[in-house]
Amino acid sequence: MTIGASSDPGTSAAVADEVRRYERRVAIRMAVRRVAVFVSFLVVLAFAYTGYKAFGGAIDDAQTEWPVVGSFLPRSDDLTMPPLLDIAAEVSVPPQRNNAKPLGVFVLEAALFTLREAALGFFLGVILGIGIAVLLVRSKWLERGVSPYIVASQTIPLVAIAPIVIIWGRTSLDWLPFTWEDWMSVALIATYLTFFPVAVNGLRGLHSPAPEDVELMASYAATPNQTLVRLRLPASTPYLFVAFKLAATVAVVGAIVGEISAGVRGGLGRLILDFAGRYTTGPERLYVSVAGAAALGILAFGLVTLSQRFVRAARVRESVST
């Protein structure tokens, strides 16, 4: 860790600059590599899909050709596994006769609708989660008393709370200065999932400073608020960003499941439900809408990862939490 003290500070400053330039180059190379890995992963996935489709198609009724494997592996045909090119082609076909919009536009609009819910659910969850973490770090007593309930909250299934939230939103929020819409209720349902990782990881992060760091703040007679803002919160950013990545993907899942269990139209959840119901007449449509959901999750994850680049405390301390 220790290199001798600089007898020549000028040289060391230049060296440190060089180190910084080098690290930036490494960061760019890493980003390029990450994209390349993702693309090759997609290609491998496509090959695997097509490969299994061919393999599963060869499994026949009598299982004569594959006596062992054929007895437990699912068979495949164009209904269970439509050809990739058919799925791709379906994107430009309107899903309904009376509607001129192609499926791709349909899914895109639904994805935007769901994205709005997920984004609101994400931000509400982040605020709530950090709020809880900040509250709990203030007192050991509170932390011990409340933590079990936070964990227990996640065992209640979304399907159970979704209709309650929707009905409550429709009937009890007319005092608000704006009209409460169903998508906002779905965002609240997503919040129920997103606050959890933020609260848990945030609390861990707020506890993460070394005792010496806390003592240092005490030696300056810093107030609890100053210690929170100047030490605990910056120290917790790497933990928080791990939580944000979890929360971002979970927000999308929460929004989709929320839509489905509350019967809210307009988003990916409803679309997936519809296309699942009409699966036999067009399996490609379900595949396209599910791909849309996956893309949305990846987008949410990517946005958080990208934003981490702009927070120094998170970038500098990235290695701490991983």
Binding site: M1, T2, S6, Y220
Partner: protein
């Protein structure tokens, strides 16, 4: 004002510290410590590991309360002195906040005290000059060597010009050459800032080279074995090789080994 001039920098009267009192893991860390540190004095505490040096320093800093006895700093209770920012402190790990640049780290205490941005910047620049890191204000801690990080920690501790500097094995993690360099630097800074320094160390030569008085502690429970004045005058490069220096080193070593002391 006059009161603080007359009062010793640190005064401990019959101080004992017990951790986990009444529990099975009760520890008597310090026993009957009485010690006085004069204004502008440079004193080192030395003793075997676990003898309570850090605990003693934390009591002086008002970060721990004594179980028995009284600690006053500049004529105030240790806690009041802490509230009044009478001292700066540096630990073995530099403890810089790695999300803050060197300059921002030095400005931390000033920021907590509500200094304006301009005043903070001005002072940080002075401190960077004091520790000879003028060009590194914009760098981040992990871009610095261990010795440089410790110099930043010293600059941070002195940024608000406290009258006392507490140091807990600040050079313990440094290699020998850097360490000796840092000792010389610390003496220069001490000379320039007229600060009282209470310095904790494991190293006998370090204690002898740095301080005007070495306080030798016994193994646990920590008691004061001996207080040895070190009258070596102004230190320079040759001090470490002088017969007087070796004489003092031997004296401290003997003191550490005394009565029931284990080497």
């Amino acid at each position: 004002m006059t009161a603080t001039r007359v009062a010793p920098a640190v005064e401990m009267v019959l101080v004992s510290k017990v951790f986990n009192r009444g529990k099975p893991n009760e520890v008597l860390a310090l026993d009957d410590i009485s010690l006085s540190v004069g204004q502008r004095e440079f004193i080192t505490l030395i003793g075997p590991s676990g003898c309570g040096k850090s605990t003693l320093l934390r009591l002086m800093a008002g970060l721990l309360d004594p179980t028995v006895g009284e600690v006053t700093v500049n004529g105030k209770t240790a806690n009041q002195a802490r509230a009044d920012r009478e001292y700066g402190i540096a630990f073995q790990t530099a403890g810089l906040f790695d999300w803050r640049s060197v300059q921002q780290n030095i400005e931390l205490p000033l920021q907590l005290m509500g200094w304006s941005k301009r005043e903070r910047r001005q002072r940080a620049r002075e401190m960077l000059t004091l520790v000879k890191l003028e060009e590194f204000g914009g760098h981040y801690p992990r871009e610095l060597s261990g010795g440089m990080q410790q110099r930043v920690a010293i600059a941070r501790a002195l940024s608000f010009q406290p009258s006392i500097l507490f140091m807990d094995e600040p050079f313990g993690a440094l290699d020998e050459m850097t360490r000796e360099h840092m000792q010389t630097e610390l003496l220069r800074i001490w000379g320039e800032t007229h600060t009282t320094v209470v310095f904790v160390t494991h190293s006998i030569p370090e204690a002898v080279f740095l301080s005007e008085r070495v306080v030798v502690m016994s193994p646990r429970p920590g008691r004061l074995f001996a207080e040895l004045p070190v009258d070596l005058g102004a230190r320079d490069f040759d001090t470490r090789e002088s017969p007087e220096f070796f004489e003092r080193v031997t004296a401290v070593r003997e003191a550490l080994r005394r009565p029931d002391g284990v080497e």
